[in-house]
């Protein structure tokens, strides 16, 4: 097992529980995927397999939905996920400088996970906080009006 992946029996068990909670019907597929992603940090292949069994729909259709939405991941990610808003409003309001500083401090590029598994760096489209850009999202915490010199303080909060 590599660092960060979820054991297959646990993935199946969580998938089973979540399907039962929501009711195993097709229109619950995206809420089910979102819930599992929240609990496990990503969607392991075994979980997708279990959803396919529970909902009685082809695996291809489960993967097709799972791979479409940006808040869902089919790959393991770091303990903390940083999302930087790359849309035009943040870009114009100083986002470009924040993005360069963020990549520099983490020594990561977009989509990469740090070797110690602490961080995954991603870009995101507009988060709807544009009067207070630049905006970054760390896990569930949103940071507004971010400047490059605030980054080290923000990052230090997450171990």
């Amino acid at each position: 097992m590599t660092v960060g992946t979820i054991a297959s029996d646990k993935a199946r068990q969580v998938a089973q529980e979540v399907c039962q909670q929501h009711g195993a019907t097709r229109d619950e597929l995206i809420p089910i995927l979102s819930d599992i992603n929240r609990q496990l940090g990503y969607l392991p292949a075994e979980a997708l397999d279990e959803i396919s069994t529970q909902l009685k729909i082809p695996k291809s259709q489960v993967l097709s939905a799972a791979s479409f939405y940006s808040m869902l991941s089919t790959q393991p990610r770091g303990r903390h996920v940083i999302k930087f808003c790359e849309s035009a409003p943040c870009h114009v309001q100083g986002g470009r400088e924040v993005w360069l500083a963020l990549q520099d401090q983490l020594q990561l590029k977009s989509g990469e996970t740090s070797p110690d598994d602490r961080w995954t760096l991603e870009t995101t489209s507009c988060l709807g906080q544009c009067a207070d850009g630049p905006v970054i999202l760390v896990d569930e915490d949103i940071y507004l009006n971010v400047t490059p010199d605030q980054l080290s303080g923000i990052l230090a909060k997450y171990k």
Partner: protein
């Protein structure tokens, strides 16, 4: 001096959004009572149609006509969907309403259900709007406890239920048929229209899809009448519009005014002028799919028809840029957005946006050619003419706008390898990848 007139945002900051009593004290559920005690469904549709209300998601389709289509389509089960997948960059008006006055949307959805003959409603709230989802779910529970939602609403024969559906991160799900696909548990890929959702919507049944801001006008229209509403705004676009303003201005935030305000008035009055050291260069209006507006269009009154003069009102987002914004760099950011958010279903959009971004990257690196400009124009035209949905059809707007309004600045990148704003990598600074 332009003054605010608040209809959509009238209760924001005034009521406690978590208390239904506060909402009721401020005319809450009065419109629903009026509808259920003295109006037929056809009366309600008629009032909305005569009010001149147009869809606030950006396209401006007449709301009353949509309601009439759904009401006249036979169907054993019809649906009302509130589109709260607000993802247009720069737009957060719907979030403010859902967070600050959720009951107005609950009430409007029930009224819409009564008008079109639907007993089930869905609200599709984007996954990133956690607080909106929480506030709205709370409002639904309170409405149910107080007899406004569920069976025999206000002791009438009308039943209505609302379900909250969370998005999972996809701009395209703001397109109504992609949104419907997503509720059905699929990838958010737009369907081919026609047929429209008014006849073949959720689970192939007649479905009314309205934006949050559109619905936020409904209760006031029912209470105050169609004539009152129609007298506000411009002849083609009745009512008010919520704008969001940010960028290089002194004051950033939202404001609601009658339709017809110009960009200059918006910047001076609500942006409190350009920021110190900033000179107006362009505004990006209506979100990424809107328009890039040069200084000579600052006085065009903005409404649903002002796109004909080159100023798209769209969702009401106003991004104000100064001399430090490079048009090539900005277009690169905008096309990157469309490349990332394209669902990939149709070729012109999937390939066109990627090609356009690659070409713009080249120009920003100082390796562009004049032939590139012809290709950008061609890609923009193909996107508009051949894409399946609104995302692809509008994705070429930034290309068209920079080449129409800022051609010399773009050409300088190619001919003299010069980025006037000093932003592009050729000027010695790294560029956003």
């Amino acid at each position: 001096m332009i003054a605010e007139q608040r209809i959509v945002t009238e209760r924001l900051g005034i009521i406690d959004p978590q208390k239904i009593e506060d909402y009721i004290d401020h005319h809450g559920y009065e419109a629903l009572r009026k509808v259920l005690t003295g109006m037929s469904p056809a009366d309600v549709v008629d009032v909305i149609e005569r009010s001149g209300l147009r869809g606030r998601g950006g396209a401006g389709f007449p709301t009353g006509i949509k309601w009439k289509y759904v009401s006249k389509t036979p169907g054993d089960q019809k649906y009302v969907i509130c589109n709260a997948d607000e993802s247009e960059p720069g737009t957060f008006k719907d979030r403010l309403v859902l967070e600050g006055d959720p009951h107005t949307i609950v009430e409007a959805m029930i009224i819409a259900g009564y008008a079109v003959g639907a007993s089930v409603g869905y609200i599709y709230i984007r996954g990133e709007y956690g607080l909106s989802q929480k506030r709205f779910s709370h409002a639904i529970r309170q409405a149910r406890q107080n007899g406004y939602l569920g069976e025999h609403i206000l002791k009438s024969d009308f039943n209505f239920e609302i379900h909250v559906h969370s998005g999972a991160g996809a701009y395209i799900c703001g397109e109504e048929t992609a949104l419907i696909e997503s509720i059905e548990g699929k990838r958010g890929e737009p369907r081919t229209r026609p047929p429209y959702p008014t006849t073949n919507g959720l689970w192939n049944m007649p479905t009314l899809v309205n934006n949050v801001e559109t619905l936020a006008n409904v209760t006031a229209i029912i209470r105050n009448g169609a004539e009152w509403y129609h007298a506000i705004g411009t002849p083609s676009s009745a009512g008010t519009k919520v704008f969001t303003i940010f960028g290089k201005v002194n004051s950033r935030g939202f404001f609601e005014v009658p339709m017809g305000i110009s960009l200059r008035q918006a910047i001076d009055t609500f942006g409190k002028g350009m920021a110190s050291g900033s000179t107006f260069k362009l505004a990006q209006t209506g979100g990424s799919s809107g328009s890039l507006v040069p200084p000579d269009l600052l006085d065009i009154p903005m409404d649903f028809d002002s796109f004909k003069a080159g100023v798209v009102m769209g969702s009401g987002a106003l991004l104000i840029c100064d001399q430090n914004t490079c048009v090539v760099d900005l277009a690169r950011v905008l096309l990157n957005f469309f490349r990332v958010e394209s669902c990939g279903k149709c070729n012109p959009c999937r390939i066109g946006n990627m090609r356009a971004q690659t070409i713009l990257n080249g120009i920003a690196q100082g390796i562009g050619t004049m032939k590139d400009l012809e290709n950008l124009e061609m890609i923009g035209r193909y996107l508009y003419e051949m894409s399946n949905c609104g995302l692809g059809q509008t994705a070429g707007s930034p290309l068209r706008d920079i080449l129409t309004h800022f051609r010399p600045e773009v050409e300088a990148h190619i001919i003299s390898k010069d980025c006037l704003a000093g932003v592009c990598a050729m000027s010695g600074q790294p560029a956003l990848v």
